[in-house]
Amino acid sequence: MILDRLAKPTEVMRPGMQVSSFFERCIRYNVSGLPYVNEQGILCGRLSMRHLFRETCIPPYLLRTAHFLGDDIDAVNIPHQQAFDLLARSVDPFVLKQYAFASPNSPIIKGLAMMEQFGTNYIFIVDGSDYHGIVTRQDIARRMIEATKDFIL
């Protein structure tokens, strides 16, 4: 099985687009990251929900203390205004230059290995400068279950 058969086409993020657009697209395609292309349309990075939340919402002092936090911690919660401000911001400062990508003919195991190496839940399928789509771990798991059913039937 090659990755291209699992790739689902998504929109890409472009310079100047807002965080709200990024979130909307992630929700629409059920992914946690999207490719980012420059003004010439060339893939040059990625946007990650995890990275964006970590950079904007989670104060560093909560990262090592999360396991003993109670529920009555309003003082450190995300205020509405902060959420509004975040959604209106440009995605440009949050672009990660490193991203996992594979060619359409790459096998699934290569995709899984690259996701592991990059610490992501997805991989972009790229043919030269053409972006084909995204493959997530869920897509691979779904395909495994389907393949097993086909085999049994």
Binding site: P59, P60, Y61, L62, L63, R64, T65, H67, F68, L69, G70, D71, D72, I73, A75, V76
Partner: protein, 439 residues
């Protein structure tokens, strides 16, 4: 009969130039201080061997094995203790005991940090307490700034009380042959007085920020903070053994470094940790930095320059009634220099000078204590005076609260008076109880 030192002047100049160049490289922060120390050490040994005032054998002998191994051993103990969550448990319990009272919270947190810093590395202590402090103060809707600054300062003060609390103390104790109990008996009382006075001054300096913002519960579960209860019990058991052996090591004829390694061995037997993370998390750069400094200063000592400086100091200290003045001068110079630059290189350079005074018939015991107090308190004078300060400044910048940001000027406004106040009290205590420091 002393050897004439005039004949070695050229060697002294060369050794002194290498020392100043190496220290300049360290303080410029153009490269990491450990790297700068290695460069300095290699140049000192190379040129010293070529000119003839230093050799590779002498460089090896210049290393203070007791200090290096004690540091390494205690680092391993801390690395194994830290992931258990014990520190976090303690911080939350303390915060809850304060019942949200801002002043009590400051006193309790600072007391805990100081006591821990007396036995363990204060950098680790502050690294763990700083994010927790920000969290707790945010929950209580308080500005974390006074708490972060106070913790850094009082961890520095707490560390000054014991032989193992601060690296300069390790070096002083190792050279002077001072045992743990003796160190604590001499330094404990003045440090306790300075601690109380400093807390009082900080409460005064930060009185506007230490005002409660209504009643808020600290909804943190300390039981969940402990991630490895069995490991914590074993680590605490080992820590008790180590502290007990520190108090008795001179009776048992054990080096403090050996005591630390008894603890490490015990922990390896009890916890059987994966050695890779234990060794990986050790601060090797600190150990390398110390090694380089010992070799650099060993070269200067070998050239005779430190003996010459010691002779000049001895002229002052030998005069009747001038020993106290020399001690106070040393304390203030040590403190002021430690506020500007790292106190470790200064201490490494001063130790052979003070040790050499003994040969001139000077009672050097009070000079050791003056040096220890000076370098211990000096770190509070500026934001770069101690590593604990830098950690707290970084935490104040990372937490994303504009009013909590500790700027260098702010540190000077609050830290410098605190340091000077501590030094004044120390000078007063030193003068009033000079006999206490004479042995």
């Amino acid at each position: 009969m002393e050897e004439p030192l005039v004949s070695t002047t050229q060697q002294m100049w060369i050794a002194g130039t290498i020392l100043f160049a190496a220290y300049g490289l360290i303080f410029s922060e153009w490269m990491h201080r450990a790297g700068a120390a290695i460069v300095g050490a290699v140049v000192m040994v190379g040129i010293g061997t070529w000119i003839g005032f230093y050799s590779q054998e002498q460089a090896i002998h210049a290393l203070d094995g007791n200090t290096l191994l004690l540091l390494a051993g205690m680092m391993m103990v801390v690395v194994m203790l830290r992931p258990t969550g014990g520190f976090e448990y303690l911080a939350i319990r303390i915060a809850k005991w304060s019942k949200g009272d801002p002043k009590l919270l400051l006193i309790y947190l600072c007391f805990a940090v100081s006591v821990i810093s007396m036995f363990l590395d204060n950098v680790t202590t502050v690294l763990i307490f700083a994010p927790l402090t920000v969290l707790i103060t945010r929950i209580l809707r308080l500005n974390p700034l006074p708490y972060l600054m106070a913790q850094a300062m009082l961890s520095n003060i707490g560390g000054a009380a014991t032989l193992v609390g601060d690296p300069p103390n390790l070096m002083i104790g190792s050279t002077a042959g001072i045992d743990f109990t003796h160190f604590l008996l001499k330094m404990g009382p003045p440090i306790a007085v300075i601690w109380i006075a400093t807390v009082g001054l900080l409460l005064l300096l930060f009185r506007e920020q230490l005002v409660g913002q209504g009643r808020h519960t600290i909804d943190l579960d300390e039981r969940k903070a402990i991630t490895d209860p069995v490991g914590l019990k074993k680590a605490l058991f080992t820590l008790v053994i180590i502290v007990a052996l520190f108090f008795t090591h001179h009776h048992l004829h054990l080096y403090p470094a050996f005591v630390a390694f008894i603890g490490v061995a015990l922990l390896f037997l009890l916890v059987r940790p994966n050695p890779e993370p234990v060794f990986g998390k050790m601060e090797w750069s600190v150990l390398v930095f110390f090694t380089g400094l010992f070799i650099i200063v060993g070269g200067v000592e070998s050239s005779g320059l430190l003996a010459l400086i010691g002779e000049q100091l001895a002229i002052l200290a030998q005069q009747p009634g001038m020993l106290l003045a020399t001690c106070i001068l040393l304390m203030w110079v040590a403190a002021l220099l430690s506020a500007i630059v790292d106190n470790i290189p200064f201490t490494v350079a001063m130790i052979p000078i003070v040790a050499g005074l003994e040969g001139h018939g000077v009672n050097i015991a009070p000079l050791w204590w003056a040096l220890a107090i000076g370098v211990g308190l000096g770190g509070n004078g500026s934001h770069i005076g101690a590593t604990a300060n830098i950690i707290c400044v970084a935490e104040s910048e990372r937490c994303g609260i504009p009013e909590a940001r500790i700027t260098p000027m702010l540190w000077l406004r609050k830290g410098l008076p605190t340091m000077l106040f501590g030094l004044l009290i120390s000078s007063l205590l030193f003068t009033l109880f000079f006999d206490h420091f004479l042995e």
